[in-house]
């Protein structure tokens, strides 16, 4: 099974030209451990907000040169903000790729099990009108990233990952600096 770091590395490499909003806590720390990038917007403690922030970026960049905007969420964060699926399905931002890294746990707070094993996030996204798929292998993720990049969205993928966090350094950058770098990237290339 892929680790979170495996999945993030593939997303970072294949979407190096796209704005990427990264979920809070372990996801942002592990993404930053691969090398902090100006096209990445890292969240610290904003559980469930990356999908809405990515949605806002994708709506605002509808007429930009960016082919897609990526939002990475965890299963806990997605469950925390399920209503966002309805908003995304309703507004239909065609450039949004929403990726849920699903380890079925709140890994950053001790591994408490989320509702993910008992509810189907992919079917929920599909019921909201979003093209949704389950992904279990690196090959599937690579193929989905390539295909969804070329097709109008919104697209949703639940990527199954293992439960453990990588041992990486914490991120200590000042939040306004992270926002400034990402915003500069987006506005320079839009």
């Amino acid at each position: 099974m892929m680790t979170r770091l495996d999945a993030l590395q593939m997303i970072a490499e294949t979407c190096a030209d796209l704005p990427i909003v990264v979920a809070c806590a372990a996801s942002s720390r592990e993404m930053a451990s691969l090398g902090r990038q100006p096209n990445h917007f890292y969240l610290y403690d904003q559980l469930g907000m990356s999908c809405s922030i990515g949605f806002g970026v994708a709506v605002a960049l509808e007429k930009s040169r960016f082919p897609k905007v990526v939002a990475i969420e965890g299963d806990g964060g997605m469950l925390f903000s399920l209503s966002t699926l309805a908003t995304i399905g309703s507004v239909c931002p065609r450039k949004l790729l929403l990726i849920v890294l699903d380890n079925e746990a709140y890994a950053s707070t001790g591994g408490q099990v989320t509702a993910s094993p008992k509810v189907n996030l992919t079917e929920m996204a599909a019921a909201a009108g979003i093209a949704a798929t389950d992904i279990s292998t690196p090959e599937e993720l690579r193929q989905w990233l390539a295909e969804s990049r070329r097709a109008d969205g919104p697209h949703f993928a639940r990527v199954r990952i293992s439960g453990s966090n990588a041992k990486v350094a914490r991120l200590w950058e000042d939040p306004p600096l992270l926002a400034h770098d990402f915003s500069t990237f987006v506005q320079t290339h839009r």
Binding site: S52, G56, V57, A58, V59, A60, T84, P175, S183, V186
Partner: protein
């Protein structure tokens, strides 16, 4: 003395002045005319979100992209969105304009929410989020200009501002 219609028109004027591109909202009766106005404009994208905190985060995304947006939400909805307000646009220094009709005050007493709504301005101030208020104490002729200045203030200080307004404080029953 203003009316519901002239007060709404003044707020519309203010939003026109800032070059509004996106209007996010949670439905509010006091904002009905504003939402309808911009919904009919092809150059402004208007959409509803399901929850206030969602809207706060979406507006932050728009600010990151350099777009001009605003969000309308009820004042009791600030309770739902306080964490999002404090940890996203405030913490990351993102200009954001929040338009909040009062659910409590002169001409607008709602017994189901006034225990919260009465205190909401103080709660937002205590969270160190900048607030402005437009009501019968401010000449209606200044509302449009004032709203533009509030938005500029948000941009220049790189932080969210919450504009409370009351369109029913002039004695109308609507």
């Amino acid at each position: 003395m203003g009316t519901f219609e002239t007060g709404s028109a003044a707020l519309i004027e203010g939003l026109e002045r800032i070059g509004l591109e996106f209007l996010i909202y949670i439905p509010t009766a006091q904002s009905e005319l504003i939402i309808r106005h911009f919904d009919q404009k092809p150059d402004v994208k208007v959409f509803m979100v399901c929850r206030e905190d969602e809207g706060v985060a979406a507006l932050a995304g728009m600010a990151l992209a350099g777009s001009v947006g605003a969000m309308i939400l009820q004042d009791n909805g600030l309770g739902v969105s306080l964490n999002a307000l404090c940890t996203m646009p405030k913490e990351y220094h993102l200009p954001s304009l929040f338009m909040v009709p009062r659910g409590d005050g002169i001409g607008e007493s709602r017994v189901g929410i006034h225990e919260f709504s009465e205190q909401v301005v103080d709660i937002i101030k205590a969270a160190n989020i900048k607030t402005f208020e437009l009501d019968y104490r401010v000449p209606l002729s200044e509302w449009g200009n004032a709203l533009e200045q509030f938005y500029r203030y948000s941009v220049h200080t790189r932080r969210p501002v919450v504009v409370f307004y009351n369109l029913r404080g002039w004695g109308q029953s609507k």
